[in-house]
């Protein structure tokens, strides 16, 4: 991976090391718990200590470490892959079968198998080997409980992989406050344990049902391959299954597997989401504005989070922003930072705008700019409150009419007929379900990446507010109008999504996470505008703003903007 993923890879490695430590603790506790003997505490403690420092335990820990590395690698691969843009259900379905998914599902099944056998050997279970000496016959027999457990391990690995990475992938959420790591782990332990035991019930039930119907097939295959006899009662009979008690063991080991996986995820989250301080100017390390420039990638998240935290708490780094460069006296730090921040906010506004106006992302401005109307998007016919007939898009259609006249040939007619036919087929219910464009995915995809935008807006607003007292050279004052107008622009685009009655069908979100992100983004933008307006309330009329922006700011000044 290139330099941009450097921080991510480093943190992933650190989290793997923490995870190995945590897994070792879990393994030690398991060893102690299994041999619990309250009546003979001394022998219990001594035998536990013997086991912990024996060679078996170290091999187990090494293997657990390898499994951790492997799981971290998969986690990293899925995290770095950008959020895919699924626009039809069919393409969503097809993407499930890509090569990466298939390979990783096999590997995860194997890792489930290894983890289960590790835990069952730590717990000194009798069901570790497939073969045993037959009692009634001369030869070797199949120990079906071991087969049951081992296959259960593979099933568990596959189930977890499908759940966590394919069907409902969870994005990395940064916590709004970051406590000390030990404190966070302490808080998470209780929920890890209870979730682990509770969530293993459903997959165990599914597995028992699966084994009841198809358990005999792998059993026959294995006994043929190894040349084993079957002498015990087969386990694909409900009475035998419950009677042998193996389902308790299965549930226990699958819970352990889930606990270890959840612990791994928790440790990853804790280490990956740690806020990082970027220097404002530096020749060797990654500076803040360069980190912010990497937008939706991991560095972008860390950079924008650092921008917000710095704007609230760090006077030293704020002073660095407000300084002028040595020869020349240019406010380079502020200019670089402002450029990246405005880019993030403006790109997001443009995307919102294109979703609102149902156009492809605009790169060239089609209509000439009216002086003073830099805010209102050109896709609407309504500028202000009056419909402006002079700028109707029909004007351009009239202009292009001449070009189309000479192309009426047979081929174009056939093409048109074909298109009409395809459109009609697409309207049919079943086909449109599979191939029709999902209405809210574009908006959902956009909102999932709104977190850096929120942090950027707040960071800019708080730096601007702090500049009233801390900025000696007035570096920020000259750019106040553009900061305010960018924020107002974003807010107006967001308002179009929420105005009741005017919301077109494609903006109705079904995903509760996306809805919450939308309201979080809206309240964050309003907070930023309020901060600037309230701090500069005495001088607001001296700031040169466009008349549209001035009108938009009025409700904030009188504190009537909901």
């Amino acid at each position: 991976m290139d330099v941009t993923c450097d921080i991510f890879s480093k943190r992933l490695i650190i989290s793997v090391l923490w995870n190995i430590g945590l897994q070792a603790v879990i393994a030690v506790m398991l060893v102690g718990f299994i041999q619990i003997d309250i009546l003979h505490p001394v022998s219990w403690i001594s035998s536990s200590i013997n086991d912990v420092f024996g060679w078996k335990m170290s091999i187990n820990i090494v293997l657990l470490g390898l499994v951790s590395f492997f799981q971290a690698y998969i986690y990293g691969c899925y995290y770095v892959k950008p959020l895919p843009k699924y626009f039809t259900r069919f393409s969503m379905f097809l993407s499930l079968f890509c090569a990466q998914n298939i390979i990783f599902s096999i590997l995860y099944a194997l890792s489930g198998y290894f983890t289960m056998s590790l835990y069952s050997s730590l717990a000194k279970s009798n069901f570790n080997t497939l073969k045993k000496i037959c009692e009634n016959y001369d030869g070797q027999c199949l120990l079906e409980q071991s087969l049951f457990l081992q296959m259960g391990g593979m099933w568990m690995g596959l189930y977890y992989f499908l759940n966590a990475h394919i069907f409902s992938p969870t994005t990395l959420t940064f916590p709004h406050i970051y406590q000390d790591k030990f404190q966070q782990i302490k808080l998470a332990i209780h929920s890890i344990l209870s979730c682990g035991f509770k969530s293993s019930i459903i997959p165990v039930v599914y597995y028992c049902i699966f084994y009841y119907f198809w358990g005999h097939k792998p059993r026959n295959v294995v006994s043929d391959v190894y040349g084993l006899y079957l002498e015990d009662k087969p386990l694909d009979n409900i009475l035998n299954l419950f009677g042998s008690g193996i389902w308790i063991g299965l549930w226990f080991y699958t819970s352990l597997f889930l606990i270890s996986v959840y612990a791994m995820r928790t440790v990853f989250n804790i280490v990956l989401t740690e806020p990082m301080k970027f220097p404002i100017e530096s020749s060797k390390k990654l500076t803040l504005h360069k980190a912010i420039a990497q937008k939706s990638q991991f560095n972008g998240y860390l950079g924008t989070q650092d921008l917000k935290i710095m704007s609230l708490t760090d006077t030293v780094r704020r002073k660095e922003i407000f300084t002028l460069s040595q020869p020349g006296g240019h406010p380079r730090n502020w200019n670089n930072l402002l450029q990246e921040c405005l880019k993030i906010v403006n790109d997001f506004s443009k995307e919102l705008d294109s979703i609102n106006g149902d156009m492809k992302p605009v790169e060239i401005e089609m209509l000439p700019k009216r002086p003073g109307s830099s805010i209102t998007p050109k896709s609407t016919l309504y500028t202000g409150n009056l419909r402006n007939m002079a700028y109707s898009p029909q004007l351009h259609e009239l202009k292009e009419h001449n070009k189309n006249k000479s192309e009426h040939t047979l081929i174009s007619a056939i093409k048109e007929e074909f298109n009409i036919l395809v459109q009609r087929i697409r309207q049919k219910p079943g086909i449109s379900y599979l191939f029709g464009e999902l209405t809210d995915t574009r908006l959902k995809f956009l909102l999932m990446q709104a977190q850096p935008v929120m942090w950027t807006c707040e960071g800019l607003a708080f730096i601007a507010a702090a500049s009233l007292k801390e900025d000696k050279y007035g570096v920020v004052q000259t750019d106040l109008p553009i900061v305010i107008s960018t924020l107002i622009n974003l807010k107006q685009n967001l308002d179009k999504l929420t105005k009741p009655g005017l919301v077109p069908r494609k903006h109705i979100l079904n995903d509760s996470f996306a809805l919450k992100m939308k309201s979080a983004l809206l309240s964050s933008v309003k907070l930023s505008i309020y901060k600037i307006v309230i701090t500069f309330s005495k001088y607001i009329h001296e700031i040169p703003l466009d008349p549209d922006v001035q009108i938009a700011i009025q409700p904030f000044l009188i504190c009537k903007e909901a």
Binding site: D180, K531, I558
Partner: protein
């Protein structure tokens, strides 16, 4: 530079007039009203299930065990009484381990509330908006009424989940978000200031609750407007909410019992939290780690931050105000110490009125010039002038505020956006809400 302090009613001409009388109250069935109803003979099973539904399993058991109520099935009564005995032993053991859990919901709030007689007074708590002249008042019927200065329409915020309101706090840097701490959790209302004639419905409210975190005894927003802290007297963790994403991160420290209230400093760098025991903590918001302090006798009952991060606090039953100041030493490190700042032992005025004694509540105005105090054993509100010059805090007496006839002050708050001085809003036991302006003017 001396200042004349005067109460000029013209300054508060535009302030909302609030008088919470009994006919404003909306009827709400509470435990006290049950005696107004006549008993109806139901069969035993119906009685037990209705008590189980309303008041819980243990109460249903006690109804079943009561021989005067349960006349039909003596075996059920005997079994229920045995189960009750076991349950009582278990709960006694649990309260031995965690003494702060002893009371139930409203009792916990009444025990820790800084409003005098919280359960019965007309106004339970009030809160001014930080940027505009808007005040939210929680009345005894658990409705929150929002009064604005220019508009005569009063928004009433009520919803089923809003019971036993303990605290109110407006969100800084917004016009319309109000956090209400009630028994089930925290309700965040969005009150659109432009909708003058519609009543906010429960679709404008978001209920934030978490297991074990009830009743909520205090809510406070960060001065930066991004985080909300909720404290519950029965929970050793303080929750830091991100209200838009509806997620909470607990700040848990086990020693000391439940958190009663939290106060943010003006620059949002420190949070003061008082627990139900003598321990109180000052949290640093950069690293979210606390500094643990112990009060001398009883728990801290009131605290307020002032300019330059000075903290004034008072312990229950003690007529003394302490100041906690952080000074930077020459070596570069910082030291914090608590010194007694004001002695308010009870004295009798020439008119015969007692004033002083144990402190009930304190608040400091946003400019740091005036501090008001409520006492447990006195019916006067004492206002002091505070000055902080050359790292020295000076607290001088300013005036007393007394009510009309037999009125007792219940709760108070300073207006946050009063530019001419300070305006203290006092809610009296008769339901009258008084705005007491203190005008600051220079004179020689």
């Amino acid at each position: 530079m001396k200042y004349i302090v005067a109460a000029m009613p013209d300054m508060t001409k535009k302030h909302p007039i609030i008088n919470v009388t009994r006919d404003l109250h909306h009827h709400r069935t509470s435990d006290e009203n049950i005696s107004m109803y006549i008993d109806v003979e139901d069969n035993l099973l119906k009685k037990i299930t209705s008590v189980w539904y309303k008041q819980g399993f243990l109460e249903a058991l006690s109804v079943a065990a009561d021989p005067s109520v349960n006349r039909e099935s003596p075996t059920l009564a005997v079994t229920a009484s045995y189960i009750l005995k076991v349950a009582n032993i278990l709960t006694a053991f649990r309260y031995f381990l965690q003494p702060h859990l002893k009371d139930i919901g409203p009792k916990i709030v009444a025990n820790y509330s800084r409003t005098r007689n919280w359960g019965q007074v007309p106004v339970k708590c009030l809160a001014w908006h930080p940027h505009t002249t808007k005040i939210a008042v929680a009345t005894v019927d658990d409705n929150v009424r929002v009064y604005c200065s220019e508009v005569t329409f009063v928004s009433t915020l009520k919803c089923k989940a809003q019971g036993h309101v303990s605290s109110l706090n407006w969100r800084p840097l917004s016009a319309s978000e109000l956090a209400v701490g009630c028994e089930q959790g925290v309700i965040v209302w969005t009150v659109d200031p432009n909708l003058m004639f519609t009543k906010p419905s429960s679709s404008n409210a978001v209920l934030l609750k978490k297991n074990g975190h009830s009743p909520v005894t205090d809510v406070s927003w960060s001065p930066n407007g991004d985080l909300l802290i909720s404290c519950s007297g029965a929970d050793t963790s303080m929750l830091v909410w991100d209200t838009a994403m509806e997620t909470a991160i607990p700040l848990r420290r086990v020693a000391g019992g439940g958190n009663v209230f939290a106060r943010w400093s003006f620059d949002a760098s420190k949070i003061f939290t008082a627990t139900s025991s003598i321990i109180f903590r000052i949290w640093d918001t950069k690293t979210w780690t606390p500094e643990r302090w112990c009060a001398r006798g009883h728990r801290v009952v009131a605290a307020c931050w002032g300019p330059d991060n000075i903290l004034l606090f008072a312990a229950k039953g003690e007529p003394m105000v302490y100041a906690l100041t952080t000074t930077s030493l020459l070596s570069g490190s910082q030291t914090t110490k608590a010194t007694p700042a004001l002695d308010v032992t009870k004295v009798e005025l020439s008119s015969g009125e007692p004033v002083g004694g144990p402190i009930l509540d304190m608040c400091w105005d946003p400019t740091g010039r005036y501090m008001a105090m409520l006492f447990e054993e006195s019916h006067l509100v004492a206002v002091f002038c505070t000055t902080y010059i050359m790292m020295q805090l000076k607290i001088d007496p300013c005036c007393f505020v007394t009510g009309v006839e037999d009125e007792i002050p219940c709760t108070m708050a300073f207006q946050q956006n009063f530019n001419d001085g300070a305006c203290l809003t006092i809610a009296w036991s008769s339901g009258r809400v008084q705005h007491f302006p203190i005008i600051y003017s220079e004179s020689y």
